[in-house]
Amino acid sequence: MVERAYINAILLTDEPGERHWQLGAFPAGDGLGMMVGWTVESPEGGVPASVATALVRAMARCGRIAFPSSIRSSGDRDRWQKQGEDDVARLAIATQSPWGRLLPGGGLTTISLLSTRREEAALDLFEDPYFQWWNASQFALVSQPPEMPPRLASPLPAELFEDNWSEAIAPLQAAGIEMIMRSGVDGDVCGVAFRSRPTRNDFEAMLNTAAAECGLVVRTVSNAAFGQILSEASNLSS
């Protein structure tokens, strides 16, 4: 029986994980990656509102958030355009279509990205109907400095939507990307890859604060305990 200390908890583990989480071979155990889960039940399905808010708030306090968005129109420009308080751009990336990849040039397609510092705008990353969080086809990039969008250029690393998504952190460093969040199996977990140890430490500190503001606690556990606690989450939920 899992302790009641894990009620309404955000769980973190940085021990090497199994592939069934659909995050690839992640975390690698090098301290630059962590898997995130939660024991909060969501009556609506999907990511519980309190968890989504805590994650977005922590990211927003670490930098500026950019993610694929099918909701906000971005035109067809290859560079950032101001849209209210946010910025939008349409950048190239390798298509997911197996037929498209047979085309000359590797089958590039374009996706819309939204860059924002606003929590309420960033919460859409969990709800996008096309870049589905629950289908492991959503990611978020956190960049510095927060005042301006990341200096991304087409094409984006194809790894972002693949199992080896965490490897994209290296080529994106020049664009100011500090961390990448990617959704895992059924959207019930996610992985966070960091550029450096200090970045990870900053994020953990911000997540602790944001979680407390949302009535949650953050617990770091072993990989084995991570799966066990999540499987009993329905019993823990208050």
Binding site: H20, G45, P129, W134, V189, S231
Partner: protein
Amino acid sequence: MAHFFAPDHRTDGYEVDGKLAPDSVWRMRILTGQRRVIGLWGGQDLQVQSNNPSVVPNDGFEETASRADGLRMLSLLGKFPGTSMLECRLGGNLWCSLQVSVADVDLSPNPPLDDRQYALLSPEWNVFGKFEPASGSVPAAFGVLSVARIPVPGTNLVVELNSRGWKGSTSTVFIWEKDGGRYARHLRLDYGYNERTKTVDYHWNRKGPAKEFWGIQDHSPVGKGGEALFKTAKYLKWGGRVLLVVGITMDVISIATASNPLRRATQVVAGWAAAWAGCKVVGAFGAGIGTGIEPGGGTAVGGFVGCIIGGAIGYYAGSEVAGEVYDWAEGTIFAPLPETAPQ
């Protein structure tokens, strides 16, 4: 020289005059309600038409062989007693013709074999099966299912096989909120790691309130029936997409090789439209029945089965009706109203 000839050198009901070629037929006799085949040699570019559609309808003549060397096999229906000329034209010029006499009873010395009682059992010429245009309701039904959204009666939900997302999903059956908009609530049948059971299994995933999806809980495992549904849906999705492409390709070929491409095109378009409508209507009915038996899994099974049945019937009925309407329209002559002097 283009000419008509009797298949297999038959003589019953075929009258050979040998004028255009040693085997050229100038007249053939058909019993009322009977279909008989006539061959046309050297007529690849000719437009064939009955000048009396009430006796021999211009129904496309079930043309099943249309070879590059100009050999064509036409099946003529004796609709009503009378006489019609089957005319072959090129740019309005008559190249050859055949007199067709349709009678209830043929008392001539060499009457056509009365095979009408067998008409429903087998085609008159076995060779037809080999040349028949490969189109039909089966590829249409499965093809339509692979891309259709089947409404669930009494709800705001639709059943479909698509994830509607950036990439493919490990789920195969989706019950979407029809007007979900940006939040796209849904129930989906998934295979993969289940964090509740800590095993890889078949289970439902839900995004949206349980009450909108018959109370089915997120991550709830499904039994053998759910596993069978998952696997069937996977084959229906990809097999259906293949059949969709195959069906469309075959229908395009059938249009290109038909003696009356416009008529065949009308049939094809009407067939696909009716298949789509049939899938939606009968699929919705099936989904309703299935929901009554077992919400979720039953909904999907009923919807898919209904869609296939409705799509197949729709395609067949649509193309048949379109053919009839086309023949009616083509055989109808609109007489101008008499002009009257202004008062």
